[in-house]
């Protein structure tokens, strides 16, 4: 039996499972395609993420199963396990692999020019498995401890960049709303909110007072991360303007590298960004791998400890293989924005409403039982 976690821990875990790892690469894509209308894109994906998170919470609460996959087995025994689940696994592991590859490339391009990528990616994956291999309450405590610290560090770094904020008018979007760039950027940036069924897996293991709290907490986590996205977008745009921002591969790294503080011993305070983003990436991967592993394990009856280790090892190998196969950061960005990200959105929009309807039917047909 799994020890349940508190609603607050749940909120931090859901929060770190979205946005956190891909936070440094998207502004160029958004501004290049949508210009100053990018703000519509960010609002759209945040609202969509909140809606889909509510659907996922509803699914989990209706089924009352320990994991997402065991719920899938209940409502769709054959198609669910034979088709929807493998699709889910492939798409989301691929998304995490590309995000990890981009992260390694970002570190290499900006900070360690001579270091090969494999050791850096390996270190992140090993750390993630080390944290994600523990029990739910242990990982929840880690996230609950580190995530607020990360946010405070990010806030400090952003405070130092206040001096460089200059052009406020590009924040106001153009009066012409263009649908095509909007659709393209929504599809391309959805990966930020594609949490691999973290919400559906964790929701039944929280000590909820009322079911309504579950919806509110999950939506608050998504909304909070959406606000951080908006703030980062604003900092980039207000510092460089849309023309400058759309020409930089790693816009946020660039913006934070412009901070120079003379009074401190450490001159470029922006290097805090490495610490902030490496720890967020590790925690993001840890939460994803933990939920992924739990879901895979719930396919069988009595999972052995050895099997868990094998599943973690296999996931690590696949992630690292993806990072090594991708040749360059340009290729990784194209794969992420044009292929992987639309796929994650398609999976969610296609299957989640169906699963939710099925779970609703399951709940009403269930012999009267104490519901949450």
């Amino acid at each position: 039996m799994v020890e349940p976690i508190s609603p607050g821990q749940y909120m931090w875990m859901v929060g770190i499972s979205v946005v956190a790892a891909g936070v440094y690469v998207w502004p160029q894509f958004v501004v290049q395609n949508a210009g100053t209308n990018g703000i519509y894109t960010l609002i759209t994906i945040t609202v969509l993420a909140m809606g889909l998170a509510a659907l996922e919470v509803g699914l989990a609460l209706n089924l009352q199963e320990p994991t997402f996959v065991s719920g899938l087995k209940k409502v769709l025994p054959i198609i669910g396990v034979g088709f929807i689940f493998p699709l889910w696994a492939v798409i989301h592991i691929a998304a995490d692999g590309v995000i990890l590859a981009l992260y390694g490339m970002m570190i290499r391009v900006n900070f360690y020019p001579n270091t090969p990528r494999l050791p850096m990616d390996t270190a992140i994956v090993v750390m993630a498995i080390w944290i994600g291999g523990r029990s739910l309450s242990a990982i929840a405590r880690s996230v609950q401890f580190w995530f607020p610290i990360i946010l405070v560090l990010l806030l400090i770094v952003m405070t130092f960049s206040v001096r460089n904020l200059e052009y406020w008018s590009p924040l106001i979007p153009s009066s012409h709303f263009l649908a095509l760039p909007w659709a393209k950027t929504v599809l391309g940036t959805w990966f930020l909110f594609s949490n691999a069924a973290v919400v559906a897996t964790l929701t039944p293991h929280v000590r909820w007072r009322r079911p309504r709290d579950a919806y509110v907490t999950a939506m608050a986590a998504m909304g909070g991360q959406g606000v951080i996205l908006l703030v980062l977008y604003a900092v980039g745009l207000v510092t460089l303007g849309p023309d400058g921002l759309s020409r930089i591969y790693w816009p946020l790294v660039y913006v934070f590298s412009l901070i120079s503080v003379q009074t401190f011993f450490l001159k470029s305070i922006g290097s805090f960004v490495i610490m902030v983003w490496t720890s967020t990436t590790v925690l993001y991967m840890a939460v994803h791998l933990f939920c992924f592993n739990w879901n895979v394990m719930s396919l069988g009856k009595n999972p052995l400890v050895l099997w868990r280790a094998v599943a973690f090892g296999a996931a690590a190998l696949i992630l690292l293989a993806i990072t090594q196969v991708i040749p360059s950061n340009v290729a990784a960005a194209v794969i992420l924005f044009n292929v992987v990200s639309p796929l994650t959105l398609a999976w969610r929009v296609l299957f989640l409403p169906i699963l939710w309807l099925l779970s609703l039917r399951y709940r009403t047909n269930r012999p009267s039982e104490e519901s949450l």
Partner: protein
């Protein structure tokens, strides 16, 4: 912990230790040639003379660069057509790894045309390892007179000291390289950098048109530019009137600009609030409210003249050192659809400048 857990943790610790990154990039200080200043002077039509300046930290280490300890900086001059070629050429002359991460200033010759500076700045900015907060300053073409403030244990560069202190000078004129780059890639603004006339007086600005040689502002035009761009901290003014001098000190100005567009012109409504101290006045001048008002009116008029000179300069040279075209395009992105590819000045500027000066008298009255 059981013995199995000990073994697993031990193996993880070893693995993490082995994979600790950064070792590949580890170089000691003695293996690095840390350049502080890069100067770029024209050499021929398509080539430049790049000079890298390395500090000579202290006598004990000076053996590393084979330099007498009296010389604060070591120089490595090379001729090349791009920064990356210059780095390659300079690296051949150096026994250590040429490192640009601590670069503080880039000195460019005022004779290098705008399109070449554009190319060099783009190239510098494209490299993610180089520092983006480097100050850019222009100098006349010459044999690299690098102003140095000798200081123990590491000599420091005059320009770095000068620009790092944002409140030391009457007007803060520093331009970091990322702002210069941003101005080169953004429509509706002309890049502008401070110009150091020999020996090291930085009171004039150099403006880059889209193509061709950069144009130097006069002192008055530069001051007008600084006033309208909110860079003036403690300017002073001096008038000779009625057989005596009137001196205004510590004048601080705050400008508010409103931009409208009418019939092919960008109309800038500039309102400047200036606060200063009346320090000296002619002997027969009585400090009455009327007379202080008169001094305020003279100061306002002088400020207006300087601002209008700066705007005239922009219209005459077809540049926009204020970035007002950019600001207007940012606020009206739909206008930008037809002008987005046009760099430099997009529209000629008509400026209406209103100045309100407040003078206070302080210290001793007579």
């Amino acid at each position: 912990m059981t013995w199995k857990q000990w073994i697993v943790s031990g193996m993880l610790a070893v693995l993490l230790g082995l994979s600790l990154t950064g070792c590949w990039d580890d170089e000691t200080v003695t293996q690095r040639a840390t350049a502080f200043v890069l100067s770029i002077m024209p050499a021929s039509d398509h080539e430049f003379r790049f000079t890298f300046y390395f500090p000579n930290p202290a006598q004990s280490i000076s053996t590393n660069v084979n330099l007498p300890s009296s010389e604060p900086f070591a120089k490595t001059p090379v001729i090349a057509h791009s920064i990356s070629q210059a780095i390659r050429e300079a690296q051949r002359d150096l026994a250590r790894d040429l490192f640009l991460g601590q670069l503080q200033d880039i000195i460019v010759s005022r004779d290098i045309p705008a399109q070449n500076i554009d190319r060099l700045v783009q190239e510098y900015n494209r490299d993610a390892y180089s520092s983006n907060t480097v100050f850019v300053v222009a100098e006349p073409t010459g044999p690299d007179p690098l102003p140095v403030t000798t200081q123990e244990p590491v000599p420091s560069v005059y320009y770095t000291q000068y620009f790092n202190c944002s409140t030391c000078q009457p007007a803060y004129l520093s331009r970091p390289v990322w702002k210069v780059w941003d101005a080169f890639v953004t429509p509706g603004v002309s890049p502008i950098i401070p110009y150091a006339s020999p020996p090291t007086r930085i009171v004039r600005m150099l403006v880059y048109p889209v193509k061709g040689r950069p144009v130097l502002m006069t002192r008055d035009e530069s001051r007008g530019w600084a006033l309208m761009m909110n860079h003036v901290h403690k300017e002073s003014y001096w008038f000779r009137k009625d057989g005596g001098a009137t001196v205004i000190k510590r004048l601080r100005a705050r400008a508010h600009v409103q931009l409208t567009y009418r019939a092919g012109h960008l109309i800038a409504n500039v309102r400047i609030d200036a606060h200063g101290s009346l320090i000296e006045w002619p002997p027969d001048f009585l400090v009455t409210p009327q007379n202080v008002g008169l001094a305020q009116a003279i100061t306002s008029k002088e400020i207006i003249t300087e601002c209008l000179k700066a705007v005239d300069f922009a219209n005459r040279t077809r540049t926009d050192p204020f970035g007002w075209g950019r600001n207007y395009l940012f606020a009206h992105p739909d206008q930008g659809l037809q002008f987005a590819s046009q760099r430099g000045m997009v529209w000629p500027i008509t400026a209406h400048v209103t100045v309100i000066t407040h003078l206070s008298t302080s210290g001793v009255s007579d």
